[in-house]
Symmetry: C2
Subunit: 329 residues, 2 copies
């Protein structure tokens, strides 16, 4: 199997999770890591036995010892960091949300097409065994026609008011940070275009949404009710409601390791679908396979899926009045 050689841009928590997972995946090697800080890159490289630390993103982009880059910087930097890598012929797996708006996303997709390189949003959750099994059951019609989705992803960062997740310059706010999981979960379960979206949000002192509730009406008539928050804890279970029954996930709806199918007049059935490792292995396997096969996008997490979700996030932000400096005039 052709080894796909990866470099990581960024050294935060999500970069750690990627590096841990990469160690477990056959046919990939972790060759490089880049940080704006040389010491940080070296420290990360030491921790994971990565041979080539770089104190500059540009240096890693020029390095010909990698085939692909995983972008693990704050949201607003995914596009510039990703395009830097693609302009040097590297495939890109970019953390979610892939960019902060559609303008950036279309620039990024154009950049991938121009350079004929693979580009995928790191929507790892879509590729986990639990999600795949859940979608298989929904598509089988076991719960009937899908009529509703309910999901909430809420966490409490009140003790970190200076975190970049609150900063409009970095594409902060609960919608982009975790609401994207809710929107994605809804879209995976729906075979219907969006007919209408309405939203209500509470904005915090920095002007980003600290609590955002969204209703999506699909052309089929189904309705998704989605919530994200960053100063509020809520249980993370999600539901898919059909006209014959429903599925309830245990905890993380977007990457459930356990869920229960309730079909009317039947005994509820629980499925357990553990991750291979920490949940990131599957996306490394999928993106590495695509890169190996010379594909420019994944069939499971294609560019069109990223655009579908980004269009919704742009529309929601216009409604709730969250505007980033990077948004078009």
């Amino acid at each position: 199997m052709q080894i796909v050689r990866w470099g990581i841009v960024g050294t935060g928590g999500i970069a750690h999770r990627f590096a841990e997972a990469a160690k477990n995946v056959e046919g990939v090697s972790l060759e490089a890591v880049a940080s704006r800080n040389d010491g940080t890159a070296r420290q990360f490289a030491d921790e994971f036995g990565i041979p080539h630390p770089f104190g500059s993103y540009e240096d890693m982009a020029r390095f010909d010892g990698i085939d692909a880059a995983y972008i693990a910087t704050p949201h607003a930097l995914h596009a510039p960091n990703g395009m830097l890598m693609m302009n040097h012929g590297k495939a890109v797996l970019s953390e979610k949300p892939i960019t902060v708006n559609m303008l950036q996303l279309d620039e990024m997709i154009a950049c991938a097409q121009k350079n004929k390189v693979f580009l995928m949003e790191a929507m790892w959750a879509r590729l986990t065994p639990g999600t795949i099994k859940l979608l298989e059951i929904v598509k089988s019609g076991a719960i009937g026609e899908v009529k509703g989705i309910q999901a909430a992803f809420c966490y409490d960062m009140s003790d970190e008011p200076d975190h970049h997740a609150f900063n409009p310059l970095y594409g902060g706010g609960s919608l982009l940070d975790v609401g994207c999981y809710c929107l994605s979960f809804a879209s995976w379960n729906m075979d219907s275009p969006v007919a209408d979206i309405v939203a209500e949000a509470e904005l915090g002192p920095t002007g980003v949404d600290v609590h955002c509730c969204v209703l999506i009406k699909y052309a089929s008539g189904a309705i998704a009710s989605l919530t994200s928050a960053m100063l509020l804890e809520k249980p993370g279970d999600g539901y898919v409601f059909g006209d014959k029954g429903y599925i309830k996930t245990k905890d993380r709806f977007y990457a459930p390791q356990e869920f229960t199918v309730h079909v009317r007049d039947s005994k509820p059935q629980t499925y357990r679908c553990p991750f291979l490792g920490n949940g990131f292995e599957e996306q490394i396997i999928e993106s590495s396979r695509c890169i190996r096969e010379g594909k420019l996008e994944s069939d499971i997490v294609p560019h069109s899926q990223s655009r579908f979700i980004m269009a919704q996030m742009d529309a929601i932000r216009r409604q709730i009045g969250v505007r980033y400096p990077l948004d078009p005039a």
Copy 2:
């Protein structure tokens, strides 16, 4: 204690529940029942040992052996039936929703004021021990400032397509039938005016909402996410989210007999608050007490509360396009 003598208008399921509860309440007697059908009234009277069955609402209105009438007819009839009783000097306890729109409600309140009689919406859930305890805990600040409400009341009537709950003439649809519980629950937990409401709904073949999702933004910044449906089963638990923790009810959020308080860094605490009987006793006690004391409305379920919820239902129906023949032009 002065006995409050009750008559019941209507003989359906909810009338049965009222009659059962009334038997358990001290200081009240069930003296009459009225139906448009003489046989039905007699049968109901026999079942509950009610001395005066009437085959006409008018006859019961003129009967001077009752002080108060409980209106248990379909939604659209609450106003005409209630006003008939009030115009004959009877106090009125009207099933929820008290009317189908604000026009009817204001006529009904004016009628009560003109006749100087007691009028209360039968929002029994507000008076149950579980709701009272839950609100006491919320108002104590135990979960911090209320930032969110989540509640769903959904049931499946797909096997009764001819039920009056689907009929626009009777004020059908899930919002009025059970969404009113969601709106009420949210309002009880909020000390803040409504700043904005948005909604999405699926309308069925008769033009009423079979699934309705509502987001209410309060002036405080809090957001309620509420769902009602009548062709869809969903678990009926509800949540009150504060910035220090949350409360989750077990099953029926609007009249919880069990709920758990989750405060950050504390062990969850579960409260069990059984009904006195079938859940209707408390509203009979409250309305009878008010009537005995010569009050024209209840302090706990005042006219203003009914108007607060009706204004929201009118606004939601305008957004989702559900219009009743009884609505003003």
